[in-house]
């Protein structure tokens, strides 16, 4: 409990391993993480340390082998797929390393569709989507298909998709990994700007410089969460 802000996510004793034909990879070993409401948390660590796995497990995208992940009072580890899906739809947004846009849909539709599918009225979803896209600076590209957008623009659309429904938490997994430095800076500025509106932001990055801009940081090493070297709060 920092500064009296409630915890939006509490993970305790999370274990995750991958079984391949040859071996068992222990990607997360007994991990404890707490995320406060409205904070900007940076997750750092070398490549292959388990950052992505951590994000997937905490957000409920993936299942865990042991432990608990309580998000907004709901234990995702115990919840069935329907409940976890519901949680994602109502409270989370995702930004991945690649934009992961639907190739057959325009920028506007890519942002609108998930909201409509989650039950938002089409008109309202569209208004929110246009606003979000304008905010991330691709308001002039609404009717373009992903293949007609640059990498940076695609990533902006992905960010708009994550924020348009005003989720409580946004998970960003190396969102700048595929971008040039200038564009990467713009994307990070954008994320910080959106975070300033009150969204909890969890940013996975191996860039220590980026992590330094966060409220707080945790470091993943060999599937364990180490002490937090840059906790400035």
């Amino acid at each position: 409990m920092t500064l009296g802000r409630p915890d939006v996510l509490i993970a305790r004793g999370v274990v995750k391993s991958y079984r391949t034909e040859a071996e068992v990879v222990h990607a997360l070993v007994d991990v404890d993480v707490t995320v406060h409401d409205g904070e900007f948390l940076a997750v750092t660590g070398p490549s292959g340390s388990g950052k992505t796995t951590l994000l997937n497990c905490l957000s409920g995208l993936d299942t865990i082998d042991a432990g608990s992940v309580v998000l907004d009072g709901v234990d995702l580890a115990a919840a069935d797929d329907a409940l976890r899906t519901e949680q994602r739809a109502s409270t989370m947004g995702f930004v991945f390393q690649t934009a992961n846009l639907l190739p057959d849909f325009t920028a506007l539709e890519n942002v609108t569709l998930p909201m409509v599918l989650a039950g938002t009225a089409p008109k309202e979803a569209r208004r929110a989507a246009v606003a979000a896209l304008e905010r991330v600076g691709v308001g002039h590209r609404l009717r373009h298909y992903p293949s007609q957008l640059s990498g940076g623009e695609q990533q902006r659309v992905a960010i708009a998709r994550a924020f348009a429904k005003r989720p409580r938490i946004v998970w960003a997994d190396e969102p700048t990994g595929n971008l040039d430095m200038h564009t990467a800076d713009q994307v990070i500025d954008l994320l910080r700007e959106l975070h300033a509106d009150g969204t909890t932001l969890i940013l996975v990055t191996h860039d220590v410089g980026l992590a330094a801009q966060a409220d707080r940081g945790i470091e993943v090493r060999d599937g364990r969460v180490g002490t937090d070297p840059s906790n400035r709060v």
Partner: protein
């Protein structure tokens, strides 16, 4: 009933989807957009659905048309005639008709009196031709009024007078004479010549079929002026040396009273049975025979159309199955295509249910479009197949059926519903799997780890399958059921595989099991031979599925080893070849399915083509089997038969044997279901020629006995043929029947056979004289000239005729080197007045084989439809495989692989799949045909022979067309640029 279920299920599938399409705009957008953005993909899926539905629909359209055509020709041939009452004598008609009136039956609509005799007629044109025909006297005005609908009677114009006669079109074709030509009728020891006034169609009274008329469903009728018979009988120059004519008519015409039921044409079995009973009661004192002719003809038509459709279904089965596999392939590819988009949306919070709904909605869209077009295509395909089959069915042996196109709405609806249900079931199943995929793995483009069932589950299901397999197999072998005696061991083997399964020994286990089942299915044809004597749908499908499945499984698990030798030395081959083979090595389930499609179609084709070849090779032998030592059969008018010494004097003739022949209706235990035989002339009566012989016939005209039959029943073993013939000649309670008595009329495939000791009944349809005889032996082949033959003592024929029979059937032996066809023509020409009808046995054999071969050709054409499904399948799978490998291919291109190499590799891969399937199917087909041919499964033992050139040609065509089918995927592969790998995001 089934249709109702199908329709209900289709609606149950469609209704919620239609609702979703309306109520959920998001899902609608998700489902419909891809088809707009990527019409190519959409067209691919839709064309899969189109083809599949077309194939399924076409087979039911074909079935409909065959059934309807055969039935229609039966109905129109008799028109208003429902029953016939036959009494020997020239003036019986009045008494019979008044008896009919006396019934006052509300079901009887009217009656018509005719006079008829079956005898020899000769056409006089440039080349005179003779034939057996039914000569009729009837009042045309009364005949056209009969039954109330003049057009249904086929009778037009005035009754012929003077020297005019009216001919049926069938007879005019048979003896090649036209109006204004002359025709001579030989009967009662005299003759009359007429000028043909006009022709009549094979309809109603004009096409009148009676139990007397020559066999086959054509109408060889000639209508002569009233009083002709009376005048001929009174002719002072009449040769009274012989006193019989026609069939058992004791030298007299037969009075025929045709009865029309009120509900005529409908073929109502109950009405017909009731009227027949009433008529029998009313005429009981009159010494006449009542025949429910319409019902008999309809029953016969039903029986024939069942047998045709059964065989056609057998050969079309793999086509339809290919259509279904095609549906499964295309729709599972569609679902797989959507995995990534769905994963992305699932990450954004799309629920599993909505994932399934979106995919199902998209599949539904394609299905609706596909099956509508497919149903139309199927109707067209059916029409084409029907067109191709018209000659075969139009042949006299097949009953001269005029094929009419008939597509019942119900069959089309059923085809559509089946297509819809299969497609949507596949979509729903695949969608359920997609919705359960791990989102993280999907986004990382990783496959989910294969689902490994637990050891205990494998053991349990393995044990269960073993037990079921043993039970089914033992039952199948005991009751001689082909499907069960193959499916049982196959299930057992599958059970063993599951029981012992570990990934490490999978390959060895599957290899051994499939090899064992494969060997068994080849052996079973001999060991459980009783199960494989009726070559119908069951046998073809069971043997085809089991052998090809085993061979494909064997090839699939050993695929790597099979192909490795070709890949091993990359330096020696073109890179495209190496690459294509390397890709073919990575065969997956879909590839194996395609291989199976090719294999099953090629199995059917090889079976049909090889059997066709064997039949072709058999012509000479069949001729010998039919005629024994004799080379020519001469049938003649019993009134004035050809004198044997006339023939013996001809050059090249070494011996002439004589027998008495008459036509009769036969009833056997095989044809007559229990309980129907009691009622006298039952609906199951069929025409046969009864050959009455004495000791002079033995060793000359006597056909060889069935060798394989003796082995089985054991009764003929060791006993020389001559002594069996002698026994029958001296015992009027015994008869020899053909082993092919119940064989299919078109294909010649056996369908059960009588055994020694079985009873049969022979009956003279005109007088009702009846003999029940015991089968004393089986003749190897006794079907020729459109009729089955049975051989009995001469006295049996006398008894059937009610008089001493003349020797109207001669069996002529000739010198080696004599042209028997020419000799037969000489006999015909020199003995016209005797109504001689001479044919060499070789020609008779050729005719019967040629119909069979035509039928097999049409069946092969029909089976080849399955090839279309296989080709479409391979194209679709290859398009998909190229798409899967986009990254790999662009990587190869980035490393300097040329576009042409990539596209050629794609063709090589396709050719390998098709070739493997082709080889498997051909080998299986040859193996099974070999087993069938050597154990009498094709009717008799036939020396095996492989139509090498034809099979090679087919294989070449299959591989070439499959390479052509790979054009689209190959082009796509070539178009991929090195950079595509980097840009591809889905």
């Amino acid at each position: 009933m089934t249709l109702l279920v199908l329709v209900i299920v289709s609606i149950a599938y469609s209704a919620p989807l239609a609702y979703i399409a309306i109520a959920r705009p998001g899902l609608r957008l998700l489902a419909f957009r891809p088809s707009i953005r990527r019409p190519g993909r959409a067209i691919l899926v839709v064309s899969g659905a189109v083809l599949a539905t077309a194939i399924v629909t076409s087979s039911s359209v074909l079935g409909d048309s065959l059934g309807a055509s055969i039935r229609r020709s039966a109905v129109t041939q008799l028109g208003p005639v429902d029953e016939e009452i036959l009494g020997v004598g020239i003036d019986r008609g009045r008494a019979i008709r008044s008896a009919v009136e006396r019934t006052r039956s509300p079901d009887v609509g009217g009656s018509l009196s005719l006079l008829g005799v079956v005898t020899t007629v000769r056409g006089r044109d440039f080349i005179p031709r003779v034939a057996q025909a039914q000569v009729l006297e009837v009042d045309f005005a009364a005949a056209s009024r009969f039954g109330g609908d003049p057009s249904a009677t086929g009778m037009t114009g005035p009754t012929p007078t003077g020297d005019a006669a009216v001919l049926s079109a069938d007879l005019s074709n048979l003896i090649a004479i036209r109006p204004r030509h002359r025709v001579t009728v030989y009967a009662f020891g005299t003759s009359r010549t007429f000028r043909i006034a006009r022709l009549l169609p094979r309809v109603g009274v004009a096409g009148l079929a009676t139990p007397l008329s020559p066999s086959g469903s054509e109408s060889f009728n000639i209508f002569v002026p009233s009083g002709t018979f009376a005048a001929m009988l009174a002719d002072p120059s009449r040769d009274r040396a012989v006193d019989n004519t026609g069939i058992g008519a004791q030298g007299l015409p037969v009075s025929i009273v045709a009865v029309s039921n009120r509900e005529t044409g409908s073929g109502d079995r109950r009405t017909s049975a009731a009227v027949t009973t009433q008529l029998r009661a009313a005429t009981s004192g009159l010494d006449v025979e009542v025949h429910p002719v319409k019902q008999q003809l309809l029953d016969d038509a039903d029986r024939r159309s069942r047998s045709f459709t059964d065989l056609f279904r057998a050969f079309g089965f793999f086509g339809a199955a290919g259509g279904v596999v095609l549906l499964i392939l295309t729709f599972s590819i569609l679902a797989r295509d959507r995995v990534r988009s769905m994963g992305i949306l699932r990450a954004q919070g799309l629920s599993r249910r909505d994932t399934v709904a979106a995919l199902a909605l998209e599949g539904w869209l394609y299905t609706i479009v596909g099956i509508s077009a497919g149903a139309l295509g199927g109707v067209a395909l059916g029409a084409v197949a029907l067109f191709a089959a018209r000659d075969v069915f139009g042949s006299p042996v097949a009953g001269s059926v005029e094929l009419v196109f008939s597509a019942r709405a119900a069959s089309i609806a059923a085809g559509c519903a089946i297509g819809l249900i299969i497609a949507l079931s596949v979509v729903l199943g695949a969608a359920a799997i997609v919705s359960r995929r791990n989102i993280v793995r999907v986004m990382r483009r990783m496959d989910d780890p294969p689902h490994r069932p637990g050891r205990s589950a494998l053991v349990a299901s393995g044990a269960g399958l073993c037990a079921a397999g043993v039970a089914i197999g033992v039952t199948g072998i005991t009751i001689a059921n082909p499907v069960a005696s193959l499916a049982g061991p196959a299930l057992f083997a599958l059970g063993v595989v599951l029981f012992l399964y570990t990934p490490a020994r999978a390959r060895r286990l599957i290899s051994i099991a499939s090899l064992a089942v494969f060997v068994w299915s080849a052996l079973a044809v001999t060991i459980v031979r009783d199960a494989f004597t009726h070559l119908g749908t069951g046998v073809v499908v069971a043997v085809g599925v089991v052998t090809t499945f085993c061979a494909v499984a064997l090839a699939a698990v050993n695929h790597n080893a099979l192909i490795r030798p070709f890949v091993a030395r990359p330096g020696r081959r073109a890179p495209a070849f190496t690459l294509g083979l390397a890709y073919a090595r990575t065969a997956r389930l879909r590839t194996v399915l395609i291989m199976g499609m090719f294999a099953t179609v090629l199995f059917t084709l090889t079976l049909l083509i090889t059997i066709r070849q064997l039949y072709g090779n058999d012509v000479r032998d069949l001729g010998r089997r039919l005629g024994g030592k004799s080379a020519i059969e001469i049938a003649s008018n019993p009134v004035r038969p050809v004198p044997p010494r006339d023939v013996a004097r001809l050059d090249g003739v070494t011996h002439v044997a004589a027998a008495a022949a008459t036509r009769a209706q036969i009833q056997t235990a095989l044809a007559a279901p229990a309980g129907t035989s009691a009622a006298g002339a039952s609906a199951d009566a069929r025409d046969v020629t009864v050959v009455g012989f004495d000791d002079t016939f033995i060793g000359h005209g006597s056909p060889p006995l069935a060798g394989s039959a003796s082995r089985r029943s054991g009764q003929q073993r060791g006993e020389p043929e001559a002594s069996i013939y002698r026994t029958v000649a001296g015992d009027p309670t015994r008869v020899l029947v053909g082993a092919d008595l119940d064989a299919d009329r078109l294909s010649g495939f056996p369908a059960g056979r009588l055994r020694i000791g079985d009873p049969i009944t022979l009956r003279n349809p005109a007088t009702g004289a009846m003999r029940t005889l015991t089968v004393g032996g089986l003749v190897a082949a006794a079907r020729y000239g459109g009729s089955d033959h049975v051989y009995a003592a001469r006295s049996v024929v006398d008894q059937l005729l009610g008089t001493r029979a003349t020797s109207n059937l001669l069996f002529v032996e000739t010198n080696e080197g004599v042209n028997n066809d020419v000799l037969a023509a000489v006999v015909d020409g020199t003995h016209l007045a005797n109504g001689a009808y001479a044919r060499s046995f070789e020609r008779l054999a050729r005719e019967s084989v040629s119909t069979r071969r035509q039928f097999l050709d049409v069946s092969a054409g029909y089976a080849a439809i399955g090839l279309v499904a296989a080709l479409a399948g391979v194209a679709i799978v290859m398009i998909d495989r190229v798409r899967e490998r986009r990254r790999q291919i662009s990587m190869l291109r980035a490393f300097g692989c040329r576009a042409a190499t990539v596209s050629r590799a794609c063709r090589v891969e396709t050719a390998v799949i098709a070739l493997e399937g082709t080889i498997i199917g051909t080998v299986c087909g040859l193996l099974i045909t070999w087993r069938l041919s050597s154990n009498g499964g094709l009717g008799q033992r036939l020396p095996f022979d492989i139509p090498v050139i034809l099979l090679l040609l087919i294989a070449a065509v299959v591989v070439a067309t499959s390479v052509a089918a790979a054009t689209v995927p190959a082009r796509r592969a070539a178009r991929l640029e090195p950079a595509a790998m980097l840009r591809a995001d889905d």
